[in-house]
């Protein structure tokens, strides 16, 4: 019967394909959301795209994968994982990937999404696995370099006139070596130099500005994972620690629940969000315990006491990882940080409960400026947090959450519910209530603020598939900030809505259109600096439509138009638009591919800015902030020189029509254009 069902299902799913340089469309949209929320142009965390790349080379065995491995895929909701595991438990191994369609709550759309990354291959025996771990993995060497062609003010300033200039060349250089055997063993070393940073000079005597090394082993008897060197820690729902990439607001059910193993290897070029030391997770089928410790020097703004130069403190931590000028170098690694923490967890088929703790110790005291919005900010030399997290599945409902407390006894709680309410309909609720004085570091919770503090809110989302090929998604989020924030001189409220309709009738056509509206409160504008005005409502509305059409096996066309309306603090309305066209080409039976984009944009100011994910060289993500008036184009080529060697090259140029310069400060370019080139070589042996 199952065989017949599988044959029947063959009609429903086409053969999937995954290009080496492209993330799945949903992942692209999630990353766009992450960047939009952080207002950060560069996504320093490459681990997600590296992970997907490794999975495309060594797919997950769906017959042996446990909950942790499926979580790490970041494409399946907790309910889908639960039902997949239950199905396997009741009916045994899958005999074909097409059989996945018979798993409750696993729709064709999701199966198509995950199919490049899963397989049914048989499991190796333990001895073979151990032997193969050491010998049968892949060695990967990656070399990447890039620069902006037009020299900015920072490079052209005469060093004898001003000390405020870039000390190094405009080239960015990143090198990584990694050995990996599936997800069981990996080790590697990375080094990185950002544009403007010097290399092998007296200012940078160690050569590159940043080095990172890691060794990570999984499944060594009772040791589930062992991390040596650089690693990241993800606890609970992100209230006390979350260093990996985490998605932000979206109607996708995956967005709000944080799902990840506690320890993961650090393999990005970002310089801040990781631990350096030792971590270990031990456990059996039901119990699990993790301990980790770290010692490293981190960047911070150092402040000397004007009365006594021996007395110093830091006013904030620096997260840019840039050390291009003397002043940036002065902040490099000035703060000694010792951190440790752990987790004890119990899991069974239906649920999980865990106790987590985290502690930071610094050499220099953290003292922030005495302004009202900083009244409850993190200060001092230590920070401790502990929390309890849980998830529980009852029928078609999945409950999850975390409640945390920090050393000033402030409490934060987040709780969510995912429900599959009908065939093809899912709902999702998420409540958070985080005290104004709750303190944490390197956290990432599903909330409006970028860090979990001073916020209460309720998020609800709906996803329905009313007919084949159609999907409707919507979410609403109501939130309030009881205490002052930067540029908000009072307690404030806000709301956000999204409505999205998706049409994907076949493998060759994908259309979506979304409307998003948000209202937040901010300070009004006044010429009188003493006058305190009531808060102004800042409204932002965006309508986006995207069409992707696969014309042939080698040609895909994609186009997006996005319109934005917003009002600023002086209550005038601004508009902006973006229009781009992509051509993605992959030669049939030839080792070459390319993609080209032409993008037109016009916004009245930075307030009406837009974001658009760009195809880049493998592992690198680029989501530039787009504002002003102009046109941008790029082309991106990759060529498989041999089975082991692949090369990428990217050229991008933005021309502004209504301005004579680009950028500001030391990044100011005295032309109306900005040209970038990037090259990458990957050797796999």
């Amino acid at each position: 019967m199952r065989v017949l069902y599988v044959l029947f299902c063959l009609l429903g799913i086409g053969y999937p394909s995954f290009s080496q340089t492209e993330l799945p469309a949903v992942a692209e949209q999630h990353i766009e959301q992450v960047v939009e929320n952080s207002n950060d142009e560069l996504l320093n965390d490459e681990s997600y795209s590296q992970h997907l790349y490794e999975l495309s080379k060594h797919p997950i065995n769906i017959n042996t994968a446990n909950r942790e491995v499926l979580n790490e895929l970041m494409m399946l909701s907790p309910l889908q994982i639960e039902y997949l595991l239950k199905y396997r438990q009741l009916l045994g191994d899958f005999i074909s990937l097409y059989e996945l369609q018979s798993v409750a709550h696993l729709d064709v759309y999701t199966i198509k999404k995950i199919s490049p990354f899963i397989t049914l291959s048989t499991q190796l025996r333990i001895k073979e696995v151990f032997k193969e771990r050491m010998l049968q993995g892949d060695h990967v060497v990656l070399i990447r370099t890039s620069r902006v062609i037009e020299k900015s003010v920072g490079y052209e300033t005469d060093s004898s006139v001003s000390s405020n200039h870039y000390l190094g060349s405009p080239w960015a250089v990143s090198i990584r070596y990694k050995y990996q055997y599936k997800n069981l063993l990996q080790y590697g070393i990375s080094c990185d130099k950002d544009p403007g940073e010097s290399i092998f000079t007296k200012n940078q005597q160690s050569g590159f500005d940043f080095y990172s090394a890691h060794l990570f082993i999984r499944k060594l008897g009772i040791i589930k994972s062992l991390a040596v060197g650089d690693y990241v820690v993800n606890l609970g729902q992100g209230l006390i620690q979350w260093q990996s990439l985490a998605f932000k607001k979206s109607s996708d059910l995956l967005a709000s629940k944080r799902q990840s193993p506690i320890l993961k290897p650090y393999q990005s070029f970002g310089e801040q969000n990781f631990h350096r030391g030792l971590g270990v997770t031990m456990g059996n089928k039901k119990w699990e315990a993790t301990l980790f410790g770290s010692y490293r020097n981190v960047d911070a703004n150092i402040v000397f006491d004007t009365m006594n130069v021996d007395e110093m403190h830091v006013s904030s931590f620096q997260n840019t990882g840039l050390h291009r000028t003397f002043s940036e170098l002065a902040d490099k690694h000035v703060q000694q940080q010792i951190s440790f923490g752990g987790n004890v967890g119990f899991s069974n088929n239906k649920g999980h409960v865990g106790f987590n703790f985290m502690h930071y110790d610094w050499k220099l005291s953290l003292i922030k400026d005495s302004i009202p919005s900083n009244l409850f900010s993190l200060t001092g030399k230590t920070l401790s947090n502990c929390s309890v997290d849980y998830h529980y599945t009852y029928k078609n409902a999945h409950f999850f959450g975390e409640t945390a407390i920090c050393n000033n006894k402030s409490i934060a709680t987040v709780n969510g519910l995912l429900m599959s309410v009908a065939n093809g309909a899912d709902i999702h609720f998420f409540y958070r209530n985080i005290s104004r004085s709750y303190q944490s570091l390197q956290t990432n919770v599903f909330a409006e603020n970028s860090t979990p503090v001073n916020e209460a809110g309720f998020f609800s989302a709906l996803s329905i598939r009313p007919a084949y090929g159609w999907m409707i998604e919507a979410y609403t989020d109501f939130f309030k900030f009881p205490w002052l924030k930067y540029n908000v001189n009072g307690g404030s409220i806000g709301s956000e809505y999204l409505f999205k309709i998706i049409y994907k009738p076949s493998k060759v056509l994908y259309i979506y259109s979304s409307y998003k509206s948000s209202v937040k409160e901010s300070n009004g504008t006044t010429n009188n600096t003493i006058e305190l005005l009531p808060l102004t409502k800042l409204a932002h509305r965006a309508w986006r439509t995207q069409i992707e059409h696969k014309l042939s096996k080698s040609n895909v066309f994609r186009s997006r138009v996005e319109l934005v309306w917003c009002n600023n603090a002086s209550n005038t309305t601004e508009q902006g638009y973006l229009l781009y066209m992509d051509w993605i080409w992959k030669a049939l039976k030839k080792p070459i591919g390319a993609n080209v984009r032409v993008l037109f944009f016009e916004t009245e100011s930075y307030n009406s800015r837009l974001y658009a994910y760009e195809n880049d060289v493998l592992f690198s993500s680029s989501i530039p902030v787009i504002y002003g008036k102009g046109v941008k184009y790029y082309f991106n080529v990759h060529f498989d020189v041999s089975k082991k060697l692949t090369c990428w090259a990217k050229w991008a140029q933005t021309t502004y029509f209504n301005q004579k310069t680009v950028g500001s400060g030391l990044d100011l370019i005295n032309y109306n254009r900005k040209s970038e080139c990037k090259m990458q070589v990957l050797y796999r042996f």
């Binding site: 093809g424 309720f458 329905i464 609403t476 109501f478 309030k480 709301s495």
Partner: protein
Amino acid sequence: MKYSIAILLPIFFVSISMAQFNSLAIPSPSISLGAYSQNQSDGYSFINNQAALTSIQCFGMAVCQEKMFNLSEINKVDAIVAIPTSLGNLGCSIGRKGFEGFSETNIGLAYARKLSSAISIGTQFNYYSFKIPSYFHSTTMNVEIGTMIHFSSKLTAGIHLYNPIKILVSSNEVRKLPYRYKFGVGYDVSNDFFISTEIVKQEDQAIDLIGGMQYQFDKRFFFKLGFMVENSSLFSSLGVLYKSIRVDALLRYHPHLGYSPGLLLSTHFKRT
């Protein structure tokens, strides 16, 4: 205390009900959410759109009390009766809000019938009384008209006009019942799950959007949740059905004014 609340009442009404004398006229979305559902419509649905009365199969009655913003001085009590007849369905509503220092009272009589299997219409005549002892007392009447189209067994849309002929409560322009136009759409995703959205335009106010969902997660348990965009408020209810008696615990939340708890008791009598 009561007098100070009486002074503050107009402010509340401006923010919530958006005019001075119309707070009773606006149905609580948490109790009338099912108007555009073909599976989950109930006796209270006709408060939202009178054409929803046509989905009533048996005699039903309900009473609801809401303590708005947790202030007993603005308690709101409503009661309805829905009666199916061979000539069309009838409905009656009675409501009162306030305390001895200020009160609004409303009596409404509704009638609805099907024009075809796909189209229903309904209307309601209302009588209002507004009273502030020793200061102001006024009565007036107005009309509501609603229509619904069932595009399929799952999709229903409708239009509702409240007070289309502008009626003043007194000669003072401020004391008026505003007009309100509403377009609503409901989609029965399954027999147990329903979503609905309404676009509302009320006199002197920005266009509002109301969205909500209703889920019967067990034969005896119901859950509703929704939002109103313009004032960023949320509403929800949790219902329990025992034989023919249903009890719903209601909760509304406004970010500035706080919580409004309520209780709904309803019953229906099946035809023998």
